[in-house]
């Protein structure tokens, strides 16, 4: 909400600056921002609904009402600034503003990596201080006996384990 108000303020030009901003803020601050009346149609900035249910600025002041009256006539009489002001009355953000990305992804990725690192620390601590000894079947002597037995059994003799052992010379190929 804050950024959109700043955008509206920053992108107005000329005479109609105060027309669009004041009532825009009034629309936003009609009541407490936390409580939205969901029983009436609401304004939304969505790329897939180009025409929202209600215009962005609903409580028009006198100047804006005059502009709306002028809008009822031929549009060729409207100046460029008046057209822009009318646009800003009925829309909060333009499509370009809606589609603009932000740098939020950098924060997200940074946060993800940070917590992954923290989890890594926790996991290391757990391995060092919580877990007991590894079973004897993972000791080097046992692994040696296990490998010898696998070679005796000719495990995967065609393209796998025993294929890499030279049985004549009794060593790995």
């Amino acid at each position: 909400m804050l950024s959109s108000r700043a955008l509206v303020r920053g992108l107005q030009s000329g005479l109609w600056r105060r027309v669009s901003t004041t009532s825009g803020m009034k629309a936003a601050h009609a009541q407490d921002l936390d409580v939205i009346d969901c029983s009436v149609p609401q304004y939304n900035n969505r790329r897939d609904t180009p025409l929202p249910d209600v215009p962005f600025v609903q409580n028009l002041n006198a100047e804006q009402k005059k502009l709306k009256e002028k809008e009822k006539g031929p549009w060729t009489n409207l100046t460029k600034e008046e057209k822009l002001a009318l646009y800003r009355l009925s829309h909060e953000l333009s499509y370009a503003e809606m589609k603009k990305g932000s740098d939020e992804w950098k924060t997200v990725i940074g946060g993800v990596f940070f917590f992954l690192g923290f989890t890594g620390l926790l996991v290391w601590w757990q391995r060092a201080y919580v877990f007991g000894d590894v079973p004897r079947t993972l000791s080097p002597e046992w692994i040696e006996m296990q490998t010898k037995r696998m070679l005796d059994m000719r495990v995967n003799p065609v393209g796998g384990f025993s294929a890499k052992w030279d049985y004549e010379k009794n060593q790995w190929k």
Binding site: R149, P157, V158, G159
Partner: protein
């Protein structure tokens, strides 16, 4: 400000006409590549292995190593 009317119909057909031949050719290429780099060498390796395979010799070697329970090494 009169823009030309955009294309309203046949969008899926146009996309398929472009992408389907590419998809089919790529799939065929991947399948052929897998066949000739993985399955054919593997079949050849098995054929070569069993051409020179002496089952009794291998069996006796395994028996002497002592892995069987039904036949112990000839020494015992």
């Amino acid at each position: 400000m009169s823009l030309p009317k955009p294309v309203m119909r046949g969008l899926l057909a146009k996309r398929l006409r472009f992408h389907l031949p590419i998809a089919f050719t790529l799939s065929l290429i991947v399948a052929a590549a897998f066949k000739f780099t993985v399955t054919e060498p593997r079949k050849q390796a098995y054929a070569d292995f069993y051409k020179q395979y002496d089952a009794m010799k291998e069996f006796n070697a395994m028996r002497e190593a002592g892995i069987f329970e039904s036949v112990r090494p000839s020494g015992e």
